[in-house]
Symmetry: D2
Subunit: 280 residues, 4 copies
């Protein structure tokens, strides 16, 4: 962590800051430049992230050096993580495709769709039993009944099944039926949900929130991993911007950058990025 | 709901669309212009909001006319809603101020702060017992122990207490101790949490999400109200933008616009908008 | 154009609005629904775009129906536009690649680079003689001297040359040397510059502004085209968002949507979207 | 400037970087921590801002320490700058209000408005003779004729006049008629225009661009000041965000932060932030 001092910082303020840094368990290194004095604080700065250090008198700016995530970082694990779901591998050379309806509605609907999904070459069936809807007056999903229909479709096709979980109280239920959990964009920072899923061993598809930075996305993965579940797949699905001709702005460049900083697999969900099928 | 047709829409497509509109329980009105034909669909369009109507062949655009929220709208209730918490009124002429620490830490800390808050003229004590933190390695709050300390501070000062609830499983617990629930920005679209709080009668401070539109904020209020709890206070606390000199961009103009569209009280939380105390 | 009336609009207000619509040269069609009355105004609404129609008493919202651009639209010209620069064709089946240094610096630099660019298979040489720099203390480009060096490189390699023009006073000068104009993101709404370039016949690469919607990008193309220069190539190069791990957020989905709405060719400039070469 | 090295940076890479820093005229200070080595570069880093230093092998991140603007900074001038326009002072205790129509249209219109503006207590008359319009088909302003009408209104009321200049070729003309230049949001990074205005002595109202950071706004002020014109007034007028119920999002917190970092006066233009008159 680097502290940039104000040009008018007094010696007393500098002494006070050096003392605070030592109290926090770090070692200060002072460097006096022509226009600014800077103080480096050597040691593990991660626990200090939410301390209001820039409110210390004489401090102009605090620049973190270490990344706030550990287990999700490429430094922690150099090789790509490969996650196994039944017979398929996610994160290796082969690109896996998940497909299926927004909501599970009827037995016929999900089985017909599952067969078509398989015939078209996809390897995972997705479908929502619990649906996050902006309006309380919209259909909210079939709940456990929907999970049972997904189970039927899995038996019929052999495809592993991914479905969203939205409530800490439903994690156990969803775990009984699904092969993979999906955490939706709106719940990416529902930290209690992340911790609860972290206590399972089932793979998790973690969608980036509408206004989440890539760093925050990795921090949410870190939440799940810090509870013991290392089977996290990141998912870029578009962020919210001023542009209104698309529903979200798909940030495709997120993929190489996430792969640079993290060993976790990355999925892309263009369906929310733009109704591509409508335009092309 | 208004359907704008493509310039090359065929008569067969128009007929099909008229049929679909009638099936959905609405009455179509057709109007043929020089460059475009448009079809108005008269009736309650709210339930159709999440139907993929713009995928119907020949349709260029679908323009909704009615607002998707009802109970939260100024049309539903013309006068300002006033919410009573113990002896104070929120939403009337007097501006109420809530203040307190980010986290409840110790008995001494919260009682000293509560007395200072009261002496400074604030009328509500806030303090977090459950804390949503970006990092799993940061302090997550004292939980029930924190709620008990808030209760102590309330007894000592007479100030009503507001505190955040993050998990559907904690709603009952928080309700026992708090005078008002707080829903944080990250949980503004945690719909199950909203429904659970909607079954209580205690007032709720609903914070706008980091990337939530004002319409979506009203839809989240609608979730709570649709379960029977009409005591919702909206809170503008800044949105996420490209600007980095402030933590969030406080959207102050949200206040008159929310008051125009809704009868609910509105709070402003500038503390996340900018570290005002640091700059002024 | 459709006027949605407030639920409490009076008959006098409706009469006044009908009169205003007729004054503006359009024909009103009234349609009374259960919750709202709407009035369609038939005729060419484009000239009314900047009239404050939503300030008319009784009006809740004004919804435009027609697109504000004409010449740039797919309706104006159904087939893809193909633009010829020397021997190459832009907008056809073959993807053309432009490459070169940010700034033209020396004869040796630009000629060496131009040869490398050609050897690598690119078909257009780019290089800046006039540089828009955030800081007045940064190198601002070589000006006409840089244009002469581009001319040398063209003679040496046969590659057509594209370079940025930033000032209405330089359009004639740049036109003498360049095969294509480049309008940078910061000047996308420098309307006088667009008009000046519109009076040339040379092809123009028009970069999307950092906060420009796709509709505004097409409106800037319309500016150039309305002066007679139809040789406009659109360029998606990323928009500004909250994400800071990339310089801009490359909005790749802009490509199919622009092609859907417009007949103009589209380039993609990923170099500003992210330093891809650093990450992959 | 601080260079954070990659954990796997080699000694050869470190040596190379130390050499480069010295070549650039700065003095390197190395500091080896447990997880990262960092190198501080002491000296004037401003000219290095656009060097691709983070592409040097072994470098993970480059953190600038000094602010990129000088003349506009509070460090350069500690007291608030006060700008005199005829008899009024901008930047002092008294708040000055500029008002007037969007476009100057007729003699009667501007004189009637100017009198009303004065009667209402405003001290500056604004009105557009050159109008930046999104559509080439909209009214573009009266040009010099409009400037003459502003001159008439000034003579009639004694109010100083502010008007927009959009083209380097019009700076001299506008200077002859106006008491203050206005640089619109779309031209905030039209650097040639800024330089041209910098050669005048007349005060300039510099509007923040739709997607400009506050730092970039100060850099644009720096452009004008670097040419000798220190009479710059900053103007916060809203930024572009995802929110669509307001035209722009007025970033009111920009005011204290700009005043913290700069000695220049700051105006606020809420008219683009939201149609306040419509909602309240």
């Amino acid at each position: 962590m680097i502290f940039v001092l104000r040009p008018d910082a007094t010696e007393a303020q500098i002494e006070h800051l050096l003392g605070r840094i030592r109290e926090l368990g770090l070692t200060p290194h002072i460097s006096r430049g022509v226009e600014r004095t800077i103080i480096g604080a050597i040691g593990d700065e991660r626990v200090l992230r939410e301390q209001p250090l820039d409110a210390i008198p004489g401090v102009e700016e605090v620049l973190p050096i270490l990344k706030p995530y550990k287990l999700a970082s490429r430094e922690f694990r150099h090789e790509n993580t490969i996650i196994h779901v039944n017979k398929i591998s996610i994160g290796g050379v082969k690109i896996q495709i998940a497909a299926g309806p927004c909501s599970v509605e009827t037995s016929e609907q999900i089985i017909t769709t599952a067969k078509a999904v398989k015939a078209a070459g996809a390897s995972i069936l997705r479908g929502g039993a619990f649906k996050p809807r902006t309006s309380p007056y919209s259909f909210q999903g079939l709940g456990e009944e929907g999970l049972k229909l997904l189970d039927e479709a899995r038996k019929e096709t052999g495809l592993p099944v991914i479905t969203e979980v939205m409530d800490t109280r439903d994690v156990e239920l969803v775990e009984r039926y699904a092969d993979m959990f999906q955490v939706g964009a709106r719940n990416m920072q529902n930290f209690n949900l992340l911790k609860e899923i972290g206590m399972s061993k089932k793979p998790v598809l973690l969608k980036r929130g509408l206004s989440a930075t890539l760093e925050e996305t990795l921090m949410s993965a870190e939440y799940i991993m810090s509870k013991g579940n290392y089977n996290v797949i990141l998912c870029e699905r578009g962020i919210r911007t001023f542009e209104k001709w698309t529903r979200n702005t798909l940030d495709l460049c997120a993929v190489p950058i996430l792969k640079h900083h993290s060993h976790l697999p990355v999925f892309v969900d263009p369906s929310h990025g733009v109704g591509v099928w409508r335009w092309v």
